[in-house]
């Protein structure tokens, strides 16, 4: 009966102290976001502008993508189109092969996670080093990122220390963040210098200029792209915005929403390859045009991957990113992933109480919680809910639509709870009762009481 998310979340909750720590750490990020947002009186106006720009762009995507392609090509960038993850990976492999390259550095790109690029290239014998510190940590541990902005947020510094001891030979038991970061710095510098090809993600692609913007706090995208002979930037095609003047709206929202910073430490603009360098941009669909065709879900493509919805989500904070078993976790992942694979991700829209906090923090005003509700309807209509749940719902719908049956069933249920309580008080069979007492069953319902009063 338990869904994949529910069972993974239950495992996560087995260590309550760690769950508390995870919840409090992310709540702290949410509070930083609140403080940053409240510094701007125009915050809600910015959100509205960002939402409007993205809505407009999604409605004119065809034109803006072609405009972007033309301007990028005029700047000397090679532009590729990929229908899906497989094609995206193949294009990268072909570039690598043509140049005879073995060593690659990659800065954060959730798209390459979505396309499973790392395992694909490793399978072909090519070493890819993730250069974002958090991503490098989870890469050492052969884990997936648990958060799109803070990939190793599920780990404590002791865990990082053990991982670095094992992979970088740092002192065992030395948990000093500065010591550990320094070790990572030395290790990554070596990788930057050795590498001939850098892969980066894209935060924004400007149609008007044919340029892209990459935001990082560690400067790792720049280190990679500047040191390597070839720079490949990978983007889902929804990253496009019409004009350079729109950038300010998004950069002001992105870092504040993500971490509470006024701006990311590095906001790097790439317009053309440096002399002697090759630059490629891969525009990826991978299900996005299908999502664009779904009226109820198209505006999920407005997402700028700030993860504010992760940090505010009371379920995410208490279940961890890995419980979502997908590249993009959290509330936004729960409305994006059913589009990629509805069956495998049918559990995700149910991993929410529909509290609505996600929609409120979203800098581009995606109605996330409403889309979660709508995905539930689609998933159940597709027959992807457990048969027992469907039968239960059918029975419930029948009982509740017939007043006399409802009254009889209510009275019967209360009688059973009063006289045969052991039937409900079973911690194994009744999930409510496992950690909660049942409400007391009164002898009279309100309606029964009311009818007596009237007579």
């Amino acid at each position: 009966m338990s869904s994949l998310h529910a069972s993974l979340a239950e495992k996560f909750n087995a260590d309550e102290a760690r769950t508390n720590w995870h919840d409090q750490t992310l709540w702290w990020v949410r509070q930083k976001r609140d403080r940053a947002a409240n510094m701007l009186v125009e915050w809600e106006q910015l959100r509205q502008w960002a939402s409007d720009i993205k809505d407009h762009t999604l409605s004119n995507l065809h034109n803006y993508l072609l405009e972007f392609e033309k301007n990028a090509q005029d700047n000397g960038i090679k532009v590729h189109w990929a229908r899906d993850g497989e094609e995206h990976n193949r294009i990268i492999y072909e570039i690598i092969q043509a140049a005879g390259i073995k060593k690659i550095v990659k800065s954060k790109s959730m798209l390459t996670e979505e396309c499973h690029l790392n395992p694909y290239l490793q399978h072909k014998g090519i070493e890819v080093v993730d250069t974002d510190l958090g991503e490098r940590i989870v890469q050492f541990r052969e884990e997936a990122p648990s958060h799109i902005v803070l990939p190793a947020i599920h780990l404590k510094k002791e865990d990082v220390s053990n991982t670095f001891h094992q992979h970088l030979g740092t002192e065992k038991g030395n948990n000093d963040p500065q010591y550990l970061t320094h070790a990572a710095r030395l290790h990554l510098r070596e990788k930057f210098v050795q590498s001939d090809l850098a892969i980066t993600g894209v935060n924004f692609a400007v149609a008007e200029t044919g340029g892209i913007v990459v935001c990082t706090n560690e400067g790792n995208a720049d280190m990679g792209a500047h040191a390597a002979k070839i720079h490949i930037a990978c983007m889902g095609f929804e990253k496009i915005i019409p004009k350079a003047e729109h950038l300010g709206v998004f950069t002001r929202l992105l870092a504040r929403s993500a971490t509470g910073q006024p701006i990311t430490t590095y906001t790097s603009h790439f317009h053309r390859p440096a002399p002697g360098q090759e630059m490629h941009i891969i525009l990826v669909d991978n299900g996005r045009s299908r999502q664009l065709g779904r009226d109820d879900f198209r505006n999920s493509l407005k997402c700028i991957r700030c993860a504010a919805c992760f940090n505010t989500c009371p379920v995410y904070r208490r279940s961890g990113g890995h419980s979502y078993h997908t590249a993009v976790a959290g509330p936004i992942g729960s409305i994006l992933n059913p589009n990629l694979d509805m069956k495998a991700n049918a559990d995700l829209p149910f991993a929410s109480t529909l509290c609505g906090s996600c929609s409120n923090v979203c800098p581009v005003k995606i109605n996330i919680h409403e889309q979660l509700w709508k995905w539930r309807q689609v998933i159940s209509a597709e027959g992807l809910t457990a048969p027992s749940k469907k039968m239960g719902m059918q029975l419930m719908a029948w009982v509740l639509s017939k007043p006399a049956v409802y009254r009889f069933s209510g009275a019967a249920a209360r009688w059973i709870l009063r006289t045969l309580p052991f039937l409900a008080k079973n911690r194994k069979l009744n999930p409510w009762y496992k950690q909660r007492e049942l409400p007391e069953a009164p002898k009279e319902s309100f309606m029964e009481w009311y009818k007596k009063q009237q007579s």
Binding site: I379, L400, S401, R436, S445, F446
Partner: protein
């Protein structure tokens, strides 16, 4: 004088009749003529939130049959009120369904916005914590929300502040979900309970006597956890609290 149709959530009818009685009595004391449609059952939310909105047509039909003709339909639950406002449909009588949707009020907003209640006769000399239920707060906008940059307000707080002797204490995270979430509370049992425990811990830190709120479903979930740990903190629906202050 206002004529009000009292919309009693099914689980309140069956398990918390005192909440419906308090709502009825309070509205009558405030001068309303209260009509209780006797064949009302459920608004259909449990099915709809589980992905089976298509099965809730029977509930919708029954709801329309019971609540046609009221200018004001008042419900002591933000969640059920929101469901009707957002999802009640009728293929036969779409106009009637629309009228019902726009006539539904959650109890506290009816008190502050329609009846404009400002004075209470009784006292409630206790330490009281408020649980803001998500559907009432974010859905019906009964109060400002911590995520938005907007002026602060709260309809339930406005009422509770009018009660003499009542010491109102808000939890540190003033509008975090309790984890009830309808069927979420059983299908995601571990996270649901953990969320409830965390809410309770904040109220306990405030040493409250009661946790009050506008939704008995959230309070039922919190009550279940409180009782299991033999806590002295009790839950009390805001209708019961206010009714006790209007003798």
């Amino acid at each position: 004088m206002y004529t009000v149709g009292l919309f009693v959530p099914c689980y309140v009818d069956q398990f918390y009749p005192q909440v419906a009685i308090a709502s009825l009595q309070l509205l009558e004391k405030l001068g309303c003529k209260v009509v209780v449609p006797l064949n009302q059952t459920c608004c259909g939310q449990p099915m709809a939130n589980s992905g089976f909105a298509r099965l809730s047509a029977g509930c919708d039909k029954n709801f329309v049959r019971n609540f046609t003709g009221f200018d004001y339909i008042v419900c002591p639950s933000g969640s059920c009120a929101l469901h009707v406002k957002e999802h009640l449909e009728s293929t036969e009588e779409p106009g009637t369904a629309n009228k019902i949707r726009s006539s539904v009020y959650e109890l506290t907003e009816f008190l502050t916005d329609v009846l404009n209640v400002t004075e209470w006769k009784g006292r409630f000399p206790h330490r009281v914590g408020l649980h803001n239920s998500c559907h009432g707060q974010r859905g019906l906008q009964l109060s400002s929300m911590s995520e938005l940059v907007a002026p602060a307000f709260s309809k339930p707080v406005q009422l509770l502040r009018q009660i003499s002797g009542l010491h109102l204490l808000l939890p540190e995270r003033s509008d975090e979900c309790c984890g009830f979430g309808g069927t979420f509370c059983v299908f995601e049992e571990a996270v649901s309970v953990k969320m409830g425990k965390d809410r309770i811990q904040e109220h306990e830190r405030n040493e409250v006597d009661y946790i009050t709120g506008g939704d008995m479903s959230c309070l039922m979930h919190l009550q279940g956890i409180l009782k299991r740990k033999n806590s002295v903190v009790q839950v009390l629906h805001i209708a019961e609290l206010l009714n006790a202050c209007y003798e």
